[in-house]
């Protein structure tokens, strides 16, 4: 169960090697979290991540999960929920893709869309039903500012996050009053492996900062969290920028 400050005792991470997710897990373990499920492709990196959390004192377990195989989600996640209540599900899987390559290789672009969007739809619905049955729990969805308005430079990734974001908002409203809570987290540019090859931009942030924002959002039972918070204003301005101007912006 979550405590008065919204800190979960058990955590299920979808996308168990995500740096943001692991930073969040580490932070929550220092508070209350004891049980952590890392769901992801069965790789040494996933085991290594679980081992790292075990060293912090958590009971960390791994489970094979593939966002691109929606047929399996019901069975795989059902087993996790059958082991005991999950107070928080962190949906952290996703791929950035390579815009230039993906534009030429539609099959690769579809992979990005399937991972980030359809994979989230199927696993999100499975988790939502389980949380509703429990009568409590948070589904924390890692969206992105890229989904707020598609940009020339990464609209394939951006459009998939836009779909995810809209899905999560709607799911949150559908679950209102059931005890389950959906929180959409929209980080800006986060310095991780996924973005290591990209040039840094203003208002960039770190996995640790995202983790801190998630903890705060849980306490406040927020529905939308921007990291850093200033991005809410920036993106609001960008959203209202005329297309002709927006197209020319160096972003």
């Amino acid at each position: 169960m979550k405590d008065a400050f919204g800190i979960p005792q058990s955590l299920l991470v979808l996308g168990g090697t995500s740096e943001i997710a692991l930073a969040t897990a580490r932070r929550l373990i220092t508070r209350r979290t004891r049980t952590v499920w890392l769901a992801g492709r069965p790789t040494p990196a996933l085991e290594e991540a679980a081992e790292q959390l075990r060293r912090l004192g958590a009971d960390a377990r791994t489970v094979a999960f593939d966002a691109l195989d929606p047929e399996s989600h019901e069975a795989v996640l059902g087993k996790v929920f059958a082991e005991g209540d999950i107070d928080m599900v962190l949906m952290a899987f996703g791929m950035l893709g390579d815009q230039a390559v993906d534009e030429k290789e539609p099959a690769l672009a579809v992979r990005v869309a399937q991972t980030n969007y359809t994979g989230a739809v199927s696993s999100g619905l499975v988790c939502a039903r389980a949380l509703q049955t429990q009568g409590h729990g948070s589904l924390v969805v890692l969206s992105s500012v890229a989904g707020e308005r598609a940009r020339r430079s990464n609209f394939i990734y951006g459009s998939s996050k836009a779909g995810l974001d809209a899905f999560a908002q709607g799911l949150g409203d559908a679950l209102y009053g059931t005890g389950a809570h959906v929180m959409v987290v929209r980080p800006g540019f986060v310095r991780t492996r996924m973005t290591a090859h990209l040039a840094e931009v203003p208002l960039s942030t770190t996995p640790e900062a995202v983790a801190a924002a998630i903890e705060l959002g849980l306490r406040r039972r927020s529905e939308t969290v921007w990291v850093p918070g200033a991005l809410r204003m920036v993106m609001s301005a960008l959203r209202h920028t005329p297309r002709a101007v927006f197209r020319r912006l160096p972003i």
Partner: protein
């Protein structure tokens, strides 16, 4: 995602950590038994007037039995001083009925709006704990609806009684109880008020003269620092005897007419109770108290239940709610108490409802909270940054000194500390295992702490 119509979001009095449950309101014992039998995989828990601060009367995804529908007073023994009533009867109702007959409830906490069932389940204490013990000491017997759907009569002194007294509703649903009452001549209190300039002065006064009073409590200013740390206002007294009343009041000495102010508004901005406002309040509260006054006549609500005058006062903390932290450390552990008070005051926790009390002998309930020593209770807005880890540190101090925190108020204790705080937890668990092997009686509290 269609929701059954009777599914509601439930929180404790602190308004933190809401969860959703099926709310059932039995009007007969048969309905209660049926609700328990048909509660489903996620179990059931009884709920009274929802005054537990944390998640004790919540059951996410399961059934919550609203017991306030069972509210009949069956029999009053006016000569012997006992009452037999349903578990959903509130102490407020008992006072309304019993005071005109010259009887008072044996123990009352800081609110009258708790049910008899809740009073047993949390084994509540009041200002008279140093002499009268906790509520269950005055309960002769009760009827308990257990997980098998049977109704058992449980007498004082039996293992099931001791598991249920303070057992947070996890042994079953209390249906009726027989309670021994306190005789009174009037419905007024004779109160002595004095100020203590700091914590040591307070503890000295409580130690020296508490035994002279039936009721005793101290309001403590936790924002005062330095030499004034722990400055307090002691209010102690007893039921006023008839001959102490002025002639006018003697005409209706047992009249009980509590008055109420308008309720707190549904929406209060967060941060209303910050350091500045609470600091100001505490300063005024301390200064307006007389340095020493004896024999003041006060009405029962004024003396025992000042907050009951404002319905929904818990809303003043805003949407984020608040946590109440109450712990007890034994005699000889004054140093720990001093250290904790110092830490709270240095941390500037904005708490205006802090009280310190000296407990007397504990009672037999296995999970009953009071043990002889010092108990401090304070309210803190839940949105105070870093509050979670700060309270964790206080827990360590309390557990290190052999003390404990009060489960009826808890919403955040780390489960690992529970066994150390409640040494009879193992016995409690094995009785539950035997009595309720399927875990029918489950609450958010029991899930969170692994009770």
């Amino acid at each position: 995602m269609v929701m059954p119509a009777d599914t509601v979001s439930v929180t404790g009095w602190g308004r933190t950590a809401p969860t959703t449950a099926r709310l059932v309101r039995p009007r007969t014992y048969e309905e209660a038994a049926a609700a328990v039998r048909e509660c489903g995989a996620r179990g059931a828990i009884s709920r009274g007037l929802g005054r537990a601060y944390g998640d004790a009367a919540q059951n996410a995804g399961g059934a919550v039995l609203d017991m306030t529908g069972l509210d009949r007073i069956h029999a009053i023994d006016v000569d012997g001083g006992t009452v037999l009533c349903d578990a959903g009867v509130s102490l407020h109702r008992l006072m309304e009925v019993l005071l005109p007959l010259g009887w008072f409830v044996p123990v009352t906490p800081g609110t009258r709006y708790v049910t008899v069932g809740g009073a047993i389940g949390a084994d509540i204490h009041g200002k008279n704990h140093h002499g009268s013990g906790s509520f269950a000491r005055h309960v002769l017997s009760f009827e308990l609806l257990t997980a098998d759907g049977e109704i058992r009569t449980v007498a004082h002194g039996t293992p099931l009684f001791d598991a249920t007294a303070g057992g947070m509703g996890l042994t079953g649903v209390i249906l009726t109880a027989t309670v021994r009452l306190q005789p009174v001549e009037t419905a007024l209190m004779c109160v002595d008020t004095e100020r203590a300039v700091d914590l040591d002065d307070l503890m000295a006064r409580l130690t020296a003269t508490d035994h002279r009073y039936r009721y005793s409590v101290a309001w403590i200013d936790l924002l005062a620092r330095g030499a004034r740390m722990g400055r307090s206002v002691l209010t102690r007294g007893d039921h006023a005897p008839l001959d102490s009343l002025p002639p006018r009041a003697r005409r209706h000495p047992l009249a009980f007419r509590p008055s109420q102010l308008p309720a707190a508004p549904a929406f209060v901005p967060e941060g209303l109770l910050g350091r500045t406002t609470v600091g100001l309040f505490n300063e005024l509260w301390y200064r307006k108290a007389p340095r020493a006054r004896t024999g003041e006549l006060q009405r029962i609500p004024t003396f025992f239940h000042p907050l009951d005058g404002v319905p929904h006062w818990n809303r003043v903390y805003g949407r984020g709610g608040f946590v109440q932290y109450q712990f007890v450390v034994g005699h000889g552990r004054e140093e720990t108490l001093r250290r904790i008070v110092r830490r709270i005051s240095e941390r500037r926790c904005p708490s205006f409802l802090a009280v310190l009390k000296r407990f007397g002998e504990g009672d037999a309930g296995w999970l009953s909270f009071p043990v002889p020593g010092w108990t401090l209770a304070l309210d803190i807005p839940a949105n105070l940054p870093g509050l979670g880890s700060f309270l964790d540190e206080l827990d360590e101090e309390v557990a290190g000194a052999g003390g404990r925190v009060y489960l009826a108020k808890d919403a955040r204790l780390r489960p690992e500390l529970l066994d150390a705080m409640y040494p009879r937890l193992g016995t409690f668990r094995s009785l539950r295992q035997e009595l309720d092997p399927r875990g029918v009686f489950t609450s958010d509290l029991s899930r969170r702490l692994g009770l």
